[in-house]
């Protein structure tokens, strides 16, 4: 199931497919580990429309919802077993 990161439910692991943010943010996110092929999880959503708390590998960081909406992820549907972490980069 393809959706954007802002739509992803909390505690549901998904794999990053494409990062459509500005070049600068894309680079910053890559440094934090969020790049195509990596697994990402939304840990919680900030109150009052605040940012998302994301986890990629061992790194946790926050990202606003508007930017998270520009990141496409693939979430395994309920029937299929969750993708294994640490998969090969395409």
């Amino acid at each position: 199931m393809i959706l954007n990161l802002a739509e992803l439910q909390t505690q549901q692991p998904a794999r990053v497919q494409a990062v459509g943010t500005s070049a600068e943010l894309t680079q910053r996110l890559a440094a934090l580990g969020l790049r195509p092929g990596r697994d990402v999880e939304v840990i919680r959503r900030g109150w009052l429309g605040g940012p998302l708390q994301l986890k990629v590998g061992g790194t946790e960081f926050m990202l606003r919802r508007a930017e998270a909406a520009l990141i496409r992820v693939v979430a395994p549907s309920a029937e299929i077993a969750p993708a294994r972490a640490g998969g090969v980069t395409a």
Binding site: E24, L25, G46, E60
Partner: protein, 587 residues
């Protein structure tokens, strides 16, 4: 000619190091087969000419981004004598995989751990020998920014270029993901950090501290606890310092100066000594406060505060980082203003800078500690202080809200939430002592000058009709509607230079120090006028240093002038509304 490729992830200070080694005048050249230009420079290392090529930043050797592919193609198609790999010493947990990957394709690595100074400050303890052994290559700590270790690195480079150049074997390349386990193992072996809470407790703690409903009350509770502790630990220390300085005055200073002319002994005893010692007794409180602040800062809680506040901060046109800057400003506004450099968008940065002077810094804290102690009971004082911190935050955010439309920004932000870290005693004491030291430095220079000037103003031409009185009378029509009387207005005037001077000036004007000054204030002021004074002192221009920093960081005289005028106007309006409002309500 020998050839060395400079490789590293983006933002590791790779280009800074390149400029350090080459002297800063890089030549940009086209490379066969590559469509983009690469910076390269010839340097003389140990008697042989070496061409150093600065490659685009890469995360791994398999990344798909365009500039990453450029770097990969260069590495795959060029004969190299060595690869100089720059790693960010504070991010080795994410960066060692690149070293392992380069090693797997047979690169002759020389590893520079950049930002070693920052890593040391962050409590990292990096075992370069262990890294060197596993990677099979020399590993050196450097700071490209300050030039530390760069000469050693050049010497090392010079001695390791004695084999014939070779090409990397990309056939043996494995994806970066395959090195993650090895990376984690190597990191665990070579890098020691202050103990962190394991993921379980960190998540549990986050569950509370970032809770939509419980998070904010917990933040308030934490700040309240901070002040209660500061008072509980700091006040006995302050009393001790006061008693000590008082006995020195009675036993030594008064007899020693009794032989001097009255004017001179007056200047020394009730000018310099009373003024400076009143300020000095706050050193223990400042020390305790910043030790406690350091515990909070080191714990990683600030990033949580940024997360929690971002929703609100976004509504006033700022972001979570702005809130962290405000909290940094609690120490001193000047480094907080410099800290806004992390905000790339110019307008967003200006708006953040506009809010920082309202952050209640240590100099103002010392005034408020004194006034709260003098005019409110020991039970109420911590709450008065807490209310001023909240006023500080509200004024800052209100200012942003009011002016946000002139500083539109759409800068995204992604901030790391590190695992909670336990405090390291050494670092905590170091922080407290540093803040204390800079406070004492000011106390011994600026404040001495300030109190001498105040003493002269209040005693010339004679104590009954002094220049101070003339100045106070001049400002009286402006300051009496906000409940600030003549003697306080002189102190405020000097507070324009630095808030550290205010108490010293008051001590000189009142002709009393320490406890005597507190009694004097309690007799001449009531809580409403004292709070109005504190509100004004909180809001108007922090100090000359802040104005200078503002000018330097914004590169705009107009913006700086606007910030100064706005703070003065706002200070008066707030105190006016508070004072007249409280009086109208019968307080």
């Amino acid at each position: 000619m020998k050839r060395v490729a400079l490789v590293g992830m983006p933002n590791t200070g790779k280009s800074t190091l390149f400029n350090r080694i080459t002297g800063g005048n890089a030549r940009v050249a086209n490379w066969p087969g590559l469509t983009v230009e690469l910076a390269s420079h010839r340097v003389l290392l140990g008697g042989s000419m070496v061409q150093l090529v600065d490659l685009p930043g890469i995360y791994d050797l398999t990344g798909g981004a365009e500039d990453e592919q450029v770097a990969q193609r260069f590495l795959a198609d060029t004969d190299l004598d060595a690869v100089l790999l720059v790693l960010n010493a504070t991010q080795l947990d994410r960066q060692l995989a690149l070293a392992l990957q380069l090693k797997s394709v047979g690169a002759r690595l020389i590893v520079a751990l950049n930002m070693a100074d920052e890593a040391k400050r962050g409590g990292f303890d990096i075992d370069t020998d262990a890294l060197s052994e596993t990677l099979g290559s020399p590993v050196l700590k450097i700071s490209a920014k300050y030039g530390h270790g760069v000469d050693g690195l050049k010497a090392l480079l010079a001695t390791s270029l004695n084999q014939t150049a070779a090409r990397l074997d990309f056939a043996r390349l494995r994806p970066a993901e395959a090195s993650r386990d090895a990376e984690a193992a190597l990191y665990a072996q070579a890098v020691r950090r202050p103990p962190t809470l394991s993921p379980g407790p960190t998540q549990k703690l986050d569950g509370w501290l970032l809770h939509p409903l419980a998070g904010l009350p917990l933040f308030v509770l934490m700040m309240a606890l901070l002040f209660q502790l500061t008072y509980a630990i700091g006040t006995p220390l302050q009393d001790g310092a006061e008693a000590l300085l008082g006995s020195v005055k009675d036993a030594w200073l008064v007899p020693l100066t009794s032989g001097l002319p009255e004017f001179l002994s007056g200047l020394i005893v009730s000018g310099v000594w009373d003024g400076v010692t009143t300020v000095l007794t706050f050193a223990p409180l400042i020390f305790v406060f910043f030790c406690l602040m350091a515990v909070i800062e080191d714990s990683g809680y600030f990033a949580r505060a940024a997360f929690m506040m971002d929703g609100i901060m976004a509504r006033v046109g700022l972001d979570g980082r702005g809130f962290v800057m405000l909290m940094m400003g609690f120490g001193c506004n000047v480094p907080a203003l410099m800290g806004t450099r992390v905000i790339r968008d110019h307008k967003a940065r200006l708006l953040t800078m506009l809010t920082i002077p309202f952050s209640l810094c240590s100099a103002r804290l010392q005034i408020f500690l004194f006034f709260a102690g003098a005019l409110f009971g020991p039970r109420q004082a911590p709450w008065v202080l807490l209310s001023l911190y909240f006023a500080s935050i509200f004024i800052a955010l209100g200012t942003a809200l009011l002016f946000r439309k002139y500083f539109p920004s759409r800068e995204p932000f992604a901030l790391e939430l590190p695992p909670y870290r336990l405090p390291v005693m050494k670092h905590v004491v170091f922080r407290g002592w540093n803040e204390c030291k800079s406070f004492l430095k000011l106390a011994t220079t600026m404040i001495v000058i300030g109190v001498v000037a105040v003493w002269l103003l209040t005693n010339y031409p004679n104590p009954q009709h002094s220049y101070a009185e003339v100045i106070a009378n001049f400002f009286q029509p402006l300051l009496s509607p906000i409940g600030i009387q003549a003697e306080l207005s002189i102190a405020l005037l000097f507070g324009f230079v630095a808030k550290e001077v205010v108490l010293g000036a008051l001590a000189v004007i009142a002709g009393a120090d320490g406890a005597q000054l507190a009694t004097h204030l309690a007799q001449t002021l009531d809580p409403v006028s004292a709070y109005s004074f504190m509100l004004f002192a909180l809001t108007y221009v922090p100090c000359v240093a802040t104005i200078a920093a503002m000018k330097k960081e914004s590169k705009s005289t107009g913006f700086t002038a606007f910030s100064v005028v706005w703070s003065l106007v706002l200070a008066w309006m707030l105190s006016f509304v508070f004072y007249q409002g409280a009086r109208a309500l019968g307080f």
